[in-house]
């Protein structure tokens, strides 16, 4: 069965409906991450947020980045964050005060920032390229291993340094005795 060109009764393109659904889901899950009282639920909403963002990347035609988003963010970073949450849980934490007392100022700053960015974006005449095509993994690989070889290697060294630093920071000190509860 072939889908009609536009959505019946509405006259929208399918991509527009998909974009609207994904955008609403993205903002909703991001708000749940930030506003949720239980931090474990915030971590789980963060996984949903990354998954929706991978969907938007796929909608933009960058399939390789969408796959990397799922692998790295959902597979690695989220698991790391969830482990750190479970290691640092205290009994009073979920029911305690979640926000600082100055949260209203933070909300004001965020609203002003978001409004300002949206205003700048919408008032700038962007030179639009009408044709939107996907990015092939071959083109990305050729660029990554020709023009971007130095950043690629640097990121490799940075990851190694981060892993060693993380292990060093998180491991128990030898001289320090086990801290009493």
């Amino acid at each position: 069965m072939k889908l009609p060109e536009t959505i019946p009764f509405l006259g929208w393109a399918w991509n527009d409906l998909l974009f609207l659904l994904l955008a609403a889901a993205l903002l909703g899950t991001a708000l749940m991450v930030v506003l949720g009282r239980n931090i474990i639920r915030s971590g789980l909403w963060m996984i949903a947020c990354f998954a929706v963002l991978a969907g938007i990347y796929a909608l933009l035609g960058t399939a390789l980045v969408a796959a990397a988003q799922v692998l790295v963010y959902i597979g690695a970073i989220s698991v790391l964050v969830l482990f750190a949450i479970m290691l640092t849980q205290t009994k009073g934490a979920p029911s305690g005060l979640v926000f600082h007392h100055q949260a209203w100022a933070a909300a004001l700053a965020a609203v002003v920032l978001g409004g300002l960015l949206a205003l700048v974006v919408s008032s700038t005449p962007w030179p639009l390229a009408g044709s939107r095509a996907g990015t092939s993994a071959k083109a990305v690989a050729e660029l990554l291993f020709s023009d971007f070889v130095l950043p690629f290697e640097t990121v490799g060294v940075l990851l190694l340094a981060a892993v060693i630093g993380g292990v060093f920071l998180a491991k128990q000190d030898q001289g320090e005795e086990q801290a009493p509860e």
Binding site: V34, L60, A84, W126, F168
Partner: protein, 103 residues
């Protein structure tokens, strides 16, 4: 709507603002790190949107986004290790109780 640059950039701006609010307002250090991840993702979305609508940037945007993802992974590793190291000494993940460095 999905065929023009502005909706993606506005979406990215809103996501960045949400992340900013979370970073400024949450007390839990790990929640602050999660908000930083949201902000990094917002910037990645803007980079990829520019790449998708400007043919000369098409492959470069993907490459830069992949590099940003790798740097974000390194940042998360070090940040969470720091939080765990502080938690071992202070027994709390709440940043407003880390008053030792202030005195």
């Amino acid at each position: 709507m999905s065929d023009s640059l502005e909706p993606y950039l506005i979406l990215s701006a809103l996501l960045f603002a949400i992340g900013t609010f979370g970073f400024l307002a949450r007390r839990n250090a790990i929640a602050m790190l999660m908000s930083i991840e949201l902000m990094l993702n917002a910037v990645n979305l803007a980079i990829l949107a520019f790449g998708a609508f400007e043919p000369s940037l098409r492959a470069a945007a993907s490459v830069i986004a992949l590099l940003v993802i790798a740097v974000a992974a390194a940042e998360a590793t070090v940040g969470l290790a720091l939080v765990i190291a502080i938690y071992r000494n202070r027994r709390t993940p709440l940043v407003d109780e880390y008053t030792q460095m202030r005195e």
